[in-house]
Amino acid sequence: MLKINNLHASIEDKSILKGINLEVKPGEVHAIMGPNGSGKSTLSSVIAGKEEYEVTEGSIIFDNEDIEELAAEERAHKGVFLSFQYPVEIPGVSVTNFIKTAINESRKARGLEDMPAKDMLKLIREKAELLEIDRKFLSRSLNEGFSGGEKKRNEIFQMAMLEPKLAILDETDSGLDIDALRIVANGVNKLKSKDNAVVVITHYQRLLDYIVPDYVHVLYNGRIVKSGTKELAHELEEKGYDWIKEEVNA
């Protein structure tokens, strides 16, 4: 589904990603871990199509197509979803209207009519329930004044609405208390199928107790320096990242 080959990316001439290789197949859950500043968020932004980053080498293949030249919205229409570490506040646009617009724009791109209002409402109700989101919450301005937990739940709610093929969860666990973490993880797990895939980007192992990865990769200094199974995450939790750094630097 996703194949990243020798990906190099930079921002304002500062090189951040220095040759990433990663393959994600349908049905899989991958975790990308690593110390601060290792390039985790850059990787997720580059996959989602943030224009500030320049891809200087390598390729991103999604569903057998090189998506490197595509705009962020076109990638979204193909089924790429990024859950933001810091969801942006947009005063004046309600959660409901935002998601309606997003869904109908995606449908338009696929040559479909707008979703009938009744179906939309039903879908919203269903997915809001899954994430234990109150109806009043849906008429509030997007992310404005939301708590950390509300923001992340709202991200997963949007993911549930958009049903992406590939969901990248960038530090979704940060700012969540244990109850919110359980709700969010439960939502992600219910959305998982053999046809879609999830990439979890996280600093800590905590979230991986709930969203269990098939593969764990360690990103350090713009490269994946170690890959393994979920046991690797436990090892990192115990020992920290220093031993990895030492291994690499040696």
Binding site: G49, E73, A76, F81, V88, I90, V93, N97, T101
Partner: protein
């Protein structure tokens, strides 16, 4: 002969032509003297520092409409708010069009300035109110000198006018260039409510310059909501001078939606002559090309326990230029005043510009006054967020701009008008999305 000379020299002929009483005659004669002395404002004056009338004044305007024109309703229907029942006072090249209008004298007067100025039965109102709110600046004086036609609205005590009143000025381009000087008088007595929508529309590419004066009197506990749709074509310029005198416990609001026109100058003045009242001044400006919109506002707090709320949003692209000059005066007696002012702007191009200047003159010590102006670009992180959810760039931009203007749009009390403004904004932004914010 320049425009000033042309206007001054044609004044006498104009005075002889129209049938008016001595009071009005005196007012006009004084007014032309003021204009003759002051002339058109120039950039040397502080209040006109960022707006030059030079290019607008160099046209050879016909200052009086010579012939009457007719228009078919179906050809101009789109300029009306036509999906609700309204009173209509419609002018074509400055002359009243009975064909397009729907006026009334049933308990309220929704009719013509020309009859109010000439018929004895209106004389008491005219002598009490005419030119009593307008300032003696040169442009208002010029309008006063030639005041003859416009809307005359008089709502006696305890009347809620159920239907909004539309005032539309059409220009047909029969002359190669036309100058229009409509004069409106709105008197709303105790406990009465009225809603008014005003629009100016040039129907051809021939230049039009409109120098309009509107005087509004909101008596005790009256509620007046005035909406200005400024969406004219690229050859039309408008100088709008609006003066509102409020008595105690009245509520008055003016919303100005500036999307079109070549040069637009809004001189909007509120005078609070009583206690416990509220004045609202809101505007949305969305312009591009080389358009210029200047909002020059004044709120004069004279008595205690009053509020004023100003909220102007501007979006400027291409080489468009904007000006916001908001003055709030709080007199020594006006304790417990709450005065708020906000002017927020987005510049979408490097060549667009906005000059914004809040001016507060506060002589009372127990007041709450706030002002804030911002100038920014569209939030890039918000753009990426929206696009990553599948909303294309153009639509994402439009959504952000709608959101930016939303709290002004929200306070429009006529749903059909709100819908129309939303549609105009969507057209202006080149999007067709049914988001209802």
């Amino acid at each position: 002969m320049d425009l000033k000379e042309k206007l001054v020299s044609s004044f006498l002929a104009f005075e002889n032509e129209v049938n008016i009483d001595a009071f009005v005659h005196d007012v006009r004669t004084d007014a032309i003297k003021i204009f003759e002395e002051k002339g058109f404002p120039t950039k040397k004056e502080e209040a006109w520092k960022y707006t030059s009338l030079n290019t607008v004044l160099k046209e050879d305007y016909s200052v009086f409409p010579k012939q009457e024109s007719a228009l078919d309703y179906k050809d101009v229907k789109k300029y009306f708010i036509h999906d609700i029942d309204t009173y209509k006072i419609i002018f074509i090249d400055g002359k009243y069009s009975s064909h397009l209008s729907q006026t009334t004298h049933g308990g309220i007067d929704v009719c013509l300035m020309s009859s109010a100025l000439s018929k004895p039965k209106y004389q008491p109102i005219i002598e009490n109110y005419f030119n009593k709110a307008a300032e003696k600046d040169s442009l208002s004086a010029l309008n006063t000198a030639f005041s003859n036609e416009g809307a005359y609205i008089h709502i006696p005590k305890n009347k809620v006018v159920e239907k909004p009143i539309q005032i539309i000025h059409f220009a047909t381009g029969n002359e190669s260039a036309t100058m229009l000087q409509p004069r409106n008088l709105v008197v709303v007595e105790e406990n009465s409510h009225v809603q008014i929508i005003e629009r100016h529309q040039n129907l051809t590419q021939n230049p039009v310059l409109t120098n309009s004066v509107t005087e509004i009197f909101a008596e005790k506990r009256a509620i007046v909501d005035y909406y200005k749709i400024q969406n004219d074509n690229a050859n039309a310029s408008l100088i709008d001078n609006t003066f509102i005198k409020q008595d105690r416990e009245s509520l008055a609001s003016v919303h100005t939606f500036s999307f079109g026109g070549k040069l637009t100058r809004n001189n909007l003045n509120f005078y609070q002559e009583g206690e416990r009242m509220d004045s609202t001044l809101k505007g949305i400006t969305i312009i591009g090309d080389k358009q210029h919109v200047d909002h020059n506002t004044l709120v004069h707090h004279i008595e205690p326990n009053c509020e004023s709320h100003q909220d102007y949003k501007g979006i400027f692209s291409d080489k468009a230029t904007g000006v916001f000059n908001g003055k709030v005066v709080v007199e020594k007696e006006a304790q417990k005043t709450n005065a708020f002012q906000a002017n927020n702007n987005i510049l979408l191009s490097d060549k667009a510009s906005i000059n914004t200047k809040p001016q507060l003159e506060i002589f009372a010590d127990d007041v709450k006054c706030s002002h804030g102006c911002t100038i920014g670009q569209l939030d890039e992180s918000a753009m990426f967020y929206m696009r990553s959810r599948g909303i294309p760039e153009k639509e994402a931009k439009a959504l952000l701009m709608f959101a930016f203007t939303n709290n002004v749009l929200e306070s429009v009390k006529i749903p059909e008008l709100k819908q129309r403004i939303t549609k105009i904004i969507a057209d202006k932004l080149g999007v067709d999305i049914g988001f209802d914010l």
